[in-house]
Symmetry: C2
Subunit: 343 residues, 2 copies
Amino acid sequence: MVKILVDAMGGDNAPAATVQGSVLALEKDKDLYLVLTGRQADIEAELKKYKYDKSRLEIVDCPDVIDMNDIPTEAIKRKQSSLVAGFWKLKKEDDLCALVTAGSTGATIVGGQLILGRIRGIKRPALCPAIPNSRGRVTMLCDCGANAECKPVMLCQFAVLASAYAEVGFGISSPKVGLLSNGTEEHKGDPLHQETYKYLSKMQGIDFIGNIEGRDIMLGECDVAVADGFSGNIALKSMEGCGKLVLGVMKKEFSSSLSSKIGYLFMRKAIRNMRGQLDFEKFGGALLLGLKKVVVKSHGSSKASTIAASIENAANIYRKGLVPAVEKKLENVDFDTLIPEEI
Amino acid sequence: MVKILVDAMGGDNAPAATVQGSVLALEKDKDLYLVLTGRQADIEAELKKYKYDKSRLEIVDCPDVIDMNDIPTEAIKRKQSSLVAGFWKLKKEDDLCALVTAGSTGATIVGGQLILGRIRGIKRPALCPAIPNSRGRVTMLCDCGANAECKPVMLCQFAVLASAYAEVGFGISSPKVGLLSNGTEEHKGDPLHQETYKYLSKMQGIDFIGNIEGRDIMLGECDVAVADGFSGNIALKSMEGCGKLVLGVMKKEFSSSLSSKIGYLFMRKAIRNMRGQLDFEKFGGALLLGLKKVVVKSHGSSKASTIAASIENAANIYRKGLVPAVEKKLENVDFDTLIPEEI
């Protein structure tokens, strides 16, 4: 039985979406056990709406909620929130495998680092979504926002973390790793990226293909796009913005005339497939990589189906052994020798 | 008569596309005079294919061509290329108003700085495309690649340059300026962006709305997105990649079955409109802002229609007085007082 914590109060649509998503996940995976943290009364009110296997779900009552206006480091210390309680339980109880939250990204990162803790040797955790690409596969974008300021050693570690995720989560053997920069030539980028390029070239167990550009993420030129959290976040959200624009224009154009309405009837399947290609959430949120257990950050606007996908993703990644895979990969690289301390 | 230089050898499809684009532009705008720089024999061979007003086109013969493998600073000094000759003529001859090139971005930036020169007070030129947004308007993204490393004063100047472009080129009065970061909150970003936020808030003549995220560029949350050239480039190319993926999927899906082929017949207009929304080149390339005259950098893969749009854009921007507008805006801000020298 895989036992997973769900932050029932996290996200714009909580607890309705988190509870419904949990029920959906339990239904699909009979080997799953869920622990929902949050306001017990609110969770129970939602649970009443569904039939579910009560022997595989429990609630841990937590009075406080962290919202978007809280400062993450303070909220983590002060509040007995569903997220904080979740991280403490995850740390202390060996049989708990993973945590899923659609709550504050900042609080998730801080909680993950301060409460759960990092894998030995990892400097900073990193957010890593799997982005659908034009080859019908996925590109891991790591980091996409956990670290606005980075050092070369962090970027090199992101390559290790995301390669392990690509292998374990998507069965990609020897994933190709690109460094997100402002051009493909080796000399491109600022000093951080120029330095990182040199170290990535020398790393054992990493198939480094050189610099990539923003467009290569969705075109699938590599399996792993290594990025500092600042520009990785900008890349992710720029693609999301473009996707939103396309879906908005599609909706408008396809109902703009009788002719296009008729056309729509014939093309529903094609259009549904297109939408799927632009669904950044279909693989169930971003992983917060580098922590001692599996942590999945679902989008703040997650609906029930997204929460269910995130839970499924967490269970899958746990079963396939993400954390041991990262630890094994780390054995290949001696970061202290590779990268001088002063950098 | 507006007299514009065209780098006839610049771009993947030169000189065929540059020559045809020039002919198209001359046909559309009877008050236009073009000076094509490049290999005379090659240009003449292309020109023979078209009818055009010979009294409004001249050729300046240049033996060398700068290609993508040249190091910009060296090529600028060494080669008598179509681009270098163009910049020298633009600098020396008062009646020449603008230069259009689809050649090497690096060489264009270096040539613009070293030969043509910057507007008094401007630290560095910046590349600025106009990106179609979901409000049916445009968002200026400045800088999108000229400066991989930036200081706060540069970002503040990009706000001035792009605001002037938005006003003059697109008639947007008091353009809203956002700072591209990894979140909307004031404390987001690295020290460069946190510092810049403070200065932008204090600037006269700039309508600063705070931080924006990558998605806000195409959703049109502001008229001007100020970015360092590294992450601005990543934003632009990430959106381009997403657009390419969508058009690729559309093409595939819409011919995937008889039903969708029939649907396509009914929706051709709607689909054409969608394509238009994703055409990053429809406004004719990116402006290289901050120089003493108008310089337009067209995409390396520009076709004739894109070259024609870039020439039209250059003529339009010149006629509407972009450079004087920038100079006027600069009078509002004393950068030395606003931003201490040590930063």
